[in-house]
Point group: C2
Chain length 218, copies 2
DNA sequence: TAGATTGTTAATCGATTAACAATC
DNA sequence: TAGATTGTTAATCGATTAACAATC
């Protein structure tokens, strides 16, 4: 077990870059590289090299070696440790529509320690079915299952109109972190962690950049 | 046509908040409200009221009235105008898997002016099929269709391994903005706008907050 | 009038970037 | 040695927040 500055507060911006580093380092390992230069990694990911080194220094006690860079293997271990990739986090998902199914079927989350153990919906025709080996239950079972399995993370993929009610039910059932894909702001107690996946926000930024790019062409 | 400071550079952080404002204002209109106070909107969205007023000042020439707030109707018009909601942007999508289907079926993008006009995939069994009335074509038709319809935006929902090749093909075909859902960094010319939807990054941030929240409980 | 609200100017805060010495 | 690279300290930059006057 590597001891790193895990308890220090690391900014969200730093944390959100870590999966990119992890992907890059794994790719380089596949190509047979044994060392990773922060300079090259930064260039490949369109980031600043100093920023990369600062991020790595924050999450890992391993230092890079001048001229060589960082040990790829040590970096993978440090990144996975910090991101909790090997520390399985059970989650439940509510809303088995198109997006819910996609997330249930997506295998990539396993790499980051996320394990969806149960799904919930109101549609009776979905009951007793499975998606990607995950059972679908009626909403009435949510509290029971969440409490029994001590599930701390909930994923919301219901329409905006019911998202708040679902979130409230999750919190009542002991959920402490909510990943919200519904296009609505959730009002929750301060001690609950919430991450909103706001596609409209992304689209707004991209549309504006497109507009700027087209204007520059003129 | 309202003349606002559209040509001024507005920061990404500001732009990404605008859809939240728009949703809130629309909600209030549904409830019969005619005026929107920045103070109340900020509180409802867990934002700072000064920030809200600054954002609104940037995108709209309409000023709020002391004691009353902003005209809800005028705000909707200004937000939709700035976000280009009524200015239809045609897009194509590549990768008709689970996520691709979900996006093709999602009606919410219409509110923001996004119109997916064609989908592409390599699987021959998908050809000549439609999803949500959108035709699926083979990859070989991409350039032709993109150029003929002057499509400027592309959505990538293929696996990481093929995303770069798809992106390159899009750029060759005149696409200027790419919304990338594949978990990989794309290397593209500077003049191309790219927005990466990085779920691993979101999950990393949420997992860390959950960890902190659980530690605080001890 | 009193009180809620706006909008501007200044201060703070945090993240990014630059400069540069240290190292292999 | 020369050159690439790291890591630290300082400077810059941009976004957020505070203070407060203006307004209805």
């Amino acid at each position: 077990m590597i001891e790193c500055k895990e308890d220090a507060i690391t900014s969200k911006t730093t944390i959100s870059r870590l999966p990119k580093y992890l992907r890059y380092v794994k790719q380089m390992i596949e190509r047979g590289e044994e060392n990773i230069s922060s300079t090259k990694m930064a260039e490949a990911l369109c980031l600043n090299a100093i920023q990369v080194r600062k991020d790595l220094a924050l999450i890992s006690p391993v230092s890079g070696r001048p001229k060589l860079g960082f040990s790829a293997q040590e970096l993978v271990v440090a990144l996975e440790e910090f991101l909790g990739c090997n520390n399985v986090k059970d989650a439940l998902l509510v809303g088995v529509g198109g997006l819910g199914r996609t997330l249930l079927s997506y295998e990539g989350f396993k790499n980051y320690g996320l394990n969806i153990v149960a799904a919930f919906d109101i549609k009776s025709e979905l009951m007793n079915k499975k998606i990607n080996d995950i059972n679908i239950f009626p909403m009435s079972k949510l509290s029971d299952i969440a409490e029994r399995l001590s599930i701390k993370m909930g994923i919301i993929t219901v329409p905006a109109s019911t998202a708040q009610a679902v979130a409230d039910k999750m919190v009542e059932s002991g959920i402490m972190a909510i990943w919200n894909f519904a296009p609505t702001h959730l009002k929750l107690p301060d001690n609950i962690a919430v991450k909103n996946e706001d596609l409209a926000a992304s689209l707004a930024v991209l549309s504006r950049e497109l507009k700027d790019a087209l204007n520059r062409q003129l």
